[in-house]
């Protein structure tokens, strides 16, 4: 049994934090209040360790309508507002991969809905420990990893497909460090007329507060169960589910009902219920409008009997939204919910004066200043560069060439990190809404917007291995690669959102990785003109004291006019010239060749010149706009070798590459120098292309020609298309245990 004195510590609050709460309330908090503060002031809700760093990210620009702070960031595209949000659901997905990933989709969709946007696309950047085929981890660990991939993909498929929002892109990457801690990040894009953006604001004292969606159960309150065990005995603790079950059907109804409420002009303010449940939604929306709120807990529909008031207050039950409406509209709002078969009830009203007053059948449960819950502590945690950074950088990777370059290329194409992920995205409805102009499997997804002359292109990218070796540079690479992917389909990048996955921030090395990553990301975004519209921080990604690679993931949005046609990544015509935009140097460090072929994690992360990145991206976009190219493909993991092979496979046609006399063959083939694109165009267009690139200070070199049904490079590589295709397309399914 815990004593009241150390209750706050068991809830994760420090003594100083507790004193601060007493100061705010001018008395001791009661149990419900303590529960609310402990959840709201947790790292997850308060961003207390990350805030001072996140502040430094550039967040303004001509295309930005709403920056960090709302449910989702918003950029302006033509007459439309495009909302974007990237979130993590790492831990829940480790515990129960199917439900964890499913509810992750549910959460990020509600974030986008909460700013008034209709969700139109989903992305799923994923990181797992290695599959058994790689032989990098013990068999049982590999099998567990495979089980996680299987479950996470099914969960996303089940939830995303049911709600009718297409999943059009993502990543699946494998590194040893994610075995005990997979990363399940999910991104949602939404769209709304500019004039219909909504905010999480409870304006207008007297307005009614509606709770709609699923009933409230004891979900997600495991962390504060000490409160109950302190008062009711321990056996109660197993009544609290550690896993939440998603209900995509209710989510779909929630989307339609909320959009109908907004279209009918009934919504004064709206907020999703996520972390900290009602506590957060009520206090935040009230505080955002400088108001308070009166909440009657007895009006909250419950899934279970005998719930304690504090449980109702902090429950994280899924598929719920809070909507503020004028009193006169409450009836109509309720009837719209009823039409969609959704439970809804008035649970309180907006009050002047700034206090959040919670009652349950007349008795006072909590009475706190609404703003104080969101106004948590902020820490400047100590940072220290880890001692191993320099050793890793000094590692020698790839001085001597492999015996058989052709075999090496095939091994890379078969590697789970590189092989086609069609096994994954074929389980996702990526076509519903008829907006997917460029489907998964290309550099970026291209989505057309309803009645608009613009389209958007979106890519998610992140390279944990680079960030492990150099978090500053690694984070810049994440931004640069996204920039390249978006440019490769012809779109002008305009903004990013991010999800920053790190270890325990109380450890100075982790905090250093975080600070460096944020600094790198900020500089890259500044240089490439893509401000940060918001993001999400996931700390404490570690098992038994060993942290994941620092893994910032970037979701980038670009725009392109409807009449610009995104080129395919596949080569198209016999005889076309293959050229490389950008320069290749010895950049095997930290790359896929070093990891997969040599089994080494080390070396120097490729240097990155952001000016060159911008120039080359601009050049490629210009080439696309003018219709000069037959294909474009960004060149990243696995270098020119993998990129050209992918273009052959996608186009169903071979290529012969010319020898390069400056770099060693394996370096030229597999180096991951950034800022490069492999393009192809008709010989007749050669002069125009070269002139345009040279005139923009870009670098372009002819590297071969399209044709035949083999990939040929000097005397050393001769691979027929069928072998390439089978290797690339089947390996992932096989690694997952599905021999097809």
């Amino acid at each position: 049994m815990s004593t009241p004195e150390d209750l706050h510590r068991q809830l994760g609050l420090t003594d100083e934090e507790y004193e601060r709460i007493e100061g705010i309330l001018e008395r001791e908090p009661n149990r419900a209040e303590l529960a609310m503060f402990s959840v709201m002031w947790s790292e997850h809700c308060s961003y207390k360790s990350s805030r001072i760093h996140l502040k430094t990210l550039p967040s303004e620009g001509p295309d930005i309508l709403v920056g960090p702070g709302e449910g989702a960031g918003i950029v302006k595209v033509g007459d439309l507002a495009v909302a974007l949000r990237l979130e993590s659901h790492n831990h829940p997905s480790f515990v129960e991969p199917f439900q964890g990933a499913a509810t992750g989709i549910g959460g990020v969709v509600r974030d986008v809905l909460s700013v008034g946007a209709r969700p139109i696309a989903l992305f799923d950047p994923l990181r797992f420990g290695p599959l058994p085929v790689e032989g990098r981890v013990p068999q049982t660990v590999g099998e567990r990893n495979r089980f996680l991939v299987e479950g996470v993909v099914s969960g996303i498929s089940s939830y995303g497909n049911c709600i009718g929002v297409p999943t059009v892109g993502g990543e699946v990457k494998f590194e040893d460090c994610y075995s005990g801690n997979p990363l399940v990040n999910v991104m949602c894009i939404g769209v709304a007329p500019v004039e219909r953006i909504h905010h999480a604001r409870a304006d207008g004292p007297g307005n009614k507060v509606l709770l709609l969606g699923s009933k409230t159960g004891r979900d997600g309150i495991g962390g504060v169960s000490v409160l109950a065990s302190a008062s009711f005995g321990d056996d109660d603790a197993d009544k609290r589910p550690s896993v939440q079950v998603g209900d995509p059907f209710t989510e779909k109804l929630l989307i339609e009902a909320c959009l109908e409420l907004m279209e009918a002009g009934l919504v004064v303010g709206i907020q999703d219920l996520g972390g900290a449940g009602l506590s957060c939604a009520t206090s935040e929306s009230a505080a955002n409008a400088g108001n308070g709120m009166k909440v009657n807990l007895e009006a909250v529909p419950r899934r279970e009997q005998g719930m304690e008031p504090f449980e109702v207050l902090i429950s994280e039950s899924q598929e719920r939204m809070l909507v503020i409406v004028e009193e006169k509209d409450a009836e109509r709002a309720l009837s719209i919910c009823d039409k969609w078969g959704l439970a809804a009830s008035v649970i309180g009203e907006v009050a002047a004066g700034g206090r959040l007053e919670v009652t349950d059948n007349g008795s006072i449960i909590a009475d706190v200043p609404a703003a104080s819950l969101g106004d948590g502590p902020i820490y400047d945690r100590p940072i220290q560069a880890p001692h191993w950074i320099e050793d890793l950088a000094r590692q020698e990777v790839g001085a001597s060439p492999p015996d058989d370059l052709g075999k090496t290329l095939l091994e890379l194409l078969a590697a789970p990190n590189i092989a086609s992920k069609s096994w994954v995205w074929e389980q996702f409805d990526h076509q519903v809404m008829l907006g997917t102009v460029v489907t998964p499997g290309h550099d970026a997804a291209v989505i057309r917007l309803p009645s608009s002359s613009e389209r958007i292109a979106v890519s998610t990218d992140g390279n944990g291995r680079y960030c492990y070796l150099d978090p500053f540079l690694g984070a810049q690479h994440a931004v640069a690669e996204a920039y390249r992917n978006v440019s490769a389909v012809g779109a002008r990048p305009i903004a990013i959102t991010n999800c920053l996955n790190f270890g325990n921030p109380e450890r100075p090395e982790v905090m250093w990785q975080f600070a460096e990553s944020v600094r790198g990301m900020g500089e890259a975004c500044m240089a490439l003109g893509t401000p940060v519209t918001g993001g999400n921080v996931s700390f404490y990604n570690e098992t038994s004291g060993s942290a994941i690679y620092p893994t910032p993931v970037v979701g980038m949005v670009g725009v392109m006019p409807r009449d610009v046609i995104p080129p395919p990544i596949g080569f198209q015509n016999e005889g076309d010239v293959i050229a490389l935009v950008g320069m290749t140097s010895d950049d095997l460090g930290g790359g896929e060749y070093a990891r997969t072929i040599l089994g080494k994690i080390g070396g120097r992360v490729p240097r990155l010149d952001l000016g060159t990145e911008a120039t080359n991206g601009t050049v490629v976009r210009r080439l696309i706009e003018l219709g000069l190219v037959s294909s474009t493909h960004d060149c990243s993991e696995g270098g020119i070798g993998v990129t050209v092979a992918e273009s052959c496979i996608a186009g169903g046609i071979g290529a012969s590459l010319e020898l390069d006399d400056e770099l060693a063959p394996h370096v030229w083939l597999f180096s991951e120098s950034p800022s490069r694109y492999v393009i192809s165009y008709p010989e007749s267009r050669s002069d125009e292309v070269i002139e345009l690139v040279a005139g923009s200070n870009g670098h372009i070199a002819r590297i071969g020609a399209v044709g035949g049904n083999e990939l040929i490079w000097g005397p050393e590589i001769r691979l027929d298309l069928e072998t390439l295709t089978a290797t690339y397309k089947r390996s992932f399914a096989e690694a997952m245990g599905y021999a097809r």
């Binding site: 589910p241 939440q244 279970e304």
Partner: protein, 87 residues
């Protein structure tokens, strides 16, 4: 010996069961009254060979715990009968 085993896997009570709830709401609209709660789980029907009943039970319990159910969200029960003419 040959056994017939019927395993019932149900969502744990405190875990929400959207499927059951949706069916529960649908029943009265289809003219079926009186239903107070509906929960949906799985039934797994197994025929197996084991030396003894104790061994059969042991295998079933292990298979349930480790593979057939997820104890985080489900619980299971089972009944086992000896198949006639197989002893």
């Amino acid at each position: 010996m040959k056994f017939e085993v019927a395993i019932d896997v149900m969502p744990r009570r405190e875990i929400s069961d959207p499927q059951g709830q949706t069916i529960e709401r649908a029943l009265p609209t289809l003219g079926f009254d009186g239903f107070e709660s509906v929960r949906v789980g799985k039934r797994i029907a197994v025929v197996m060979e084991a030396e003894t009943e104790a061994q059969a039970r042991d295998i079933i319990e292990q298979a349930c715990q480790r593979f057939l159910t997820n104890p985080q969200i489900e619980h299971f029960s089972y009944s086992l009968t000896v198949m006639q003419g197989t002893t």
